[in-house]
């Protein structure tokens, strides 16, 4: 078992390393700015943003290291950038192989479509795990280096709870990958979908009456600012995201089993 997942993950190993190194360096770069910003009145600066913007990027307590990390690294890099990356990558998982004629060779092997789909999805786990193990260690070290301190449990949780969120983003990509014939369209569609959902969540959050609308978006159920600044963990949200991932996988499977490959 897992031969397909192993192969796919191996093919992506170089990308995984590059992404991990890149995000680590970028995080350290952001952290290096923090001491020099301490002189500014960041809270007043944060207040100056319109409410929707504050919601979108979880701008709170920008003057503390927790608030700073939550905005600069987690809301931006993790929630938005990585969410889009996972959706994009998953968008190519099936459509990419179909388009490049790799799928008919793969399906000529004694493997079910469910196994191909499942293992391709599982092959995304190594990149998720690597990022969420290496980057927090780098950040923890970086925070110490600039003479600040951070609750290690909160830091671990902000990463742990990001996994269900990122899986849900990948799930959106996978559905598109089985629904659309061209890999490029699937990938771009996945990015557009995740970004649109992020906007829906951000805009609706600023209106008390329509706050519930945001719940359709995966971003609604993962809030790095809450975890880092307030130390509260939305376990229910993580559960919802895992359930959403399962539903998206099931949808993709139904679709993939029905598809003609190479028609």
């Amino acid at each position: 078992m897992l031969e397909i997942a192993r192969y796919e993950a191996e093919r992506r190993r170089r990308g995984t390393v590059a992404l991990t190194v890149g995000l680590s360096i970028l995080s350290l770069f952001f952290l290096a700015f923090f001491p020099s910003m301490a002189d500014l009145d960041l809270d007043a600066y944060a207040e100056a943003f319109p409410p929707a913007f504050q919601e979108a990027f979880g701008i709170q307590a920008l003057g503390t290291i927790e608030g700073f990390l939550a905005v600069e690294i987690y809301q931006f890099l993790w929630l938005l950038l990585l969410g889009l990356y996972l959706a994009y990558t998953a968008g190519g998982l099936i459509a990419g192989d179909v388009e490049r004629d790799r799928m008919d060779l793969l399906l000529s092997l004694p493997v079910s479509r469910a196994r191909v789909l499942g293992e391709k999805f599982v092959s995304l786990l190594p990149v998720l795990v690597t990022l969420n193990v290496v980057v927090p260690i780098v950040i923890y070290g970086g925070v110490a280096a600039i003479g600040e301190s951070l609750d290690p449990v909160d830091l671990a949780m902000v990463h742990l709870l990001s996994i269900p969120y990122l899986l849900a983003c990948a799930g959106i990509g996978l559905v598109l990958s089985t629904a659309v014939r061209r890999a490029d369209v699937a990938r771009r569609g996945a990015i557009a979908a995740v970004f649109a959902l992020f906007l829906v969540d951000s805009v609706s959050a600023s209106s008390a009456d329509f706050d519930w609308v945001g719940a359709v978006s995966p971003t609604y159920h993962y809030n790095p600012t809450e975890i880092l600044v307030e130390g509260t963990y939305d376990i229910t949200g993580a559960g919802i995201l895992l359930a959403l991932t399962a539903v998206l996988l099931a949808l993709a499977l139904v679709r993939f089993r029905r598809n003609d490959v190479g028609a």
Binding site: R100, D101, R102, D104, S108, L109, P110, R113, G262
Partner: protein, 314 residues
């Protein structure tokens, strides 16, 4: 039980017909050539047999498994090898890695032996491969788990003549070992060299199912003659010769009669040059079916149905 058995197998894409009501069998241990011009529906048939496309109506069994039953077909695929027409290998992976990958799923008891015969540069990335090298990698991949049935879609395209010879030799040896081989081609000469039986597909319909011998006898030879004197094309209008025409400097016709009669006729003229060649597949189609079509006094479109009817009655 036949190794491949199609029953009224039909695949349509919307209103476009891929293949229409194919019914024929490939017997165990046979080398079966699936012949037809490009776009005739060969690849559609093969993809349906592999469960990649689901039949619109009808069905087929492969090694006893119904192609509509995924789990039965997966068991059958343990004993099946496949060479696709478009070789979709991971460009960035080495040949070695790809074989390892496929071996981890289906086994590779014969890999080394095959690599003595076919020699793709395994340590290089597939993106550096020539078409021939990719084709060799595909052949090793298809046979390495010692399958009972191998399905190949135009397997010799891209192989140089030397490698093609090796491939024909290899297919004959495989038949000796009892492997059933089903392959598509649009090259008549290779089909005649290695196949026991041939099915001809035209516009999605099976128009002939023959022993190779029979097919070639019907198809005849293409004869091209240059004579010293001016000879009217009518001089060659003997029993078995048809489609006689003058190209200016030479006379060409297709001949499906007795060879002695042809040689005797050629002996009557002083010749500058003579070529007796295999006809292109299109000509085999035309003469094989066109003739019968004119017997019925029917235009082209009706010909296929008439012949298909005859084939399925046989």
């Amino acid at each position: 039980m036949a190794t491949i058995d199609m029953v009224e197998l039909t695949k349509r894409y919307g209103s476009v017909v891929g293949v229409e009501a194919l019914s024929f069998s490939v017997e165990e241990g046979e080398v079966f050539g699936f012949l037809g011009p490009n776009g005739a529906g060969k690849t559609t048939t093969i993809r349906t047999l592999l469960g990649l496309l689901s039949p619109t109506t009808g069905t087929a069994t492969v090694l006893g498994a119904d192609v509509r039953d995924e789990s039965a077909l997966i068991e059958a695929k343990r004993r099946l090898g496949y060479v696709p027409a478009d070789l979709g290998f991971d460009e960035g992976a080495t040949g070695e890695r790809i074989l390892d990958y496929h071996a981890s799923i289906k086994g590779d008891t014969r890999r080394e032996e095959l690599l003595d015969l076919f020699t793709p540069p395994l340590d290089r990335q597939v993106r550096e491969y020539s078409t021939g090298n990719k084709q060799m990698l595909a052949l090793v991949q298809a046979f390495m788990h010692d399958p009972d049935l191998v399905i190949m879609d135009e397997p010799t395209s891209g192989l140089d003549p030397l490698k093609q010879e090796r491939f024909y030799e290899f297919v004959r040896e495989e038949r000796e070992r009892g492997t059933t081989i089903f392959f598509s081609s649009h090259v008549l000469s290779e089909v005649r060299r290695i196949c026991d039986r041939v099915g001809i597909l035209r516009e999605g319909q099976l128009v002939a199912l023959e022993d190779v011998e029979t097919l070639l006898n019907r198809g005849g030879k293409r004869v091209r003659v240059r004579t010293v004197d001016d000879v009217a094309p009518e001089a060659f209008d003997i029993e078995g010769a048809f489609d006689i025409r003058s190209t200016g400097e030479a006379i060409e016709f297709t001949y499906a009669g007795e060879y002695d009669a042809l040689i005797a006729l050629l002996g009557d003229h002083r010749l500058l040059d003579v070529e007796i060649d295999e006809p292109p597949l299109e000509d085999v189609f035309m003469h094989y079916y066109g003739e019968r079509g004119s017997d019925d006094g029917e235009p082209d479109a009706g010909t296929d149905d008439a012949v298909a009817q005859e084939v399925s009655d046989a």
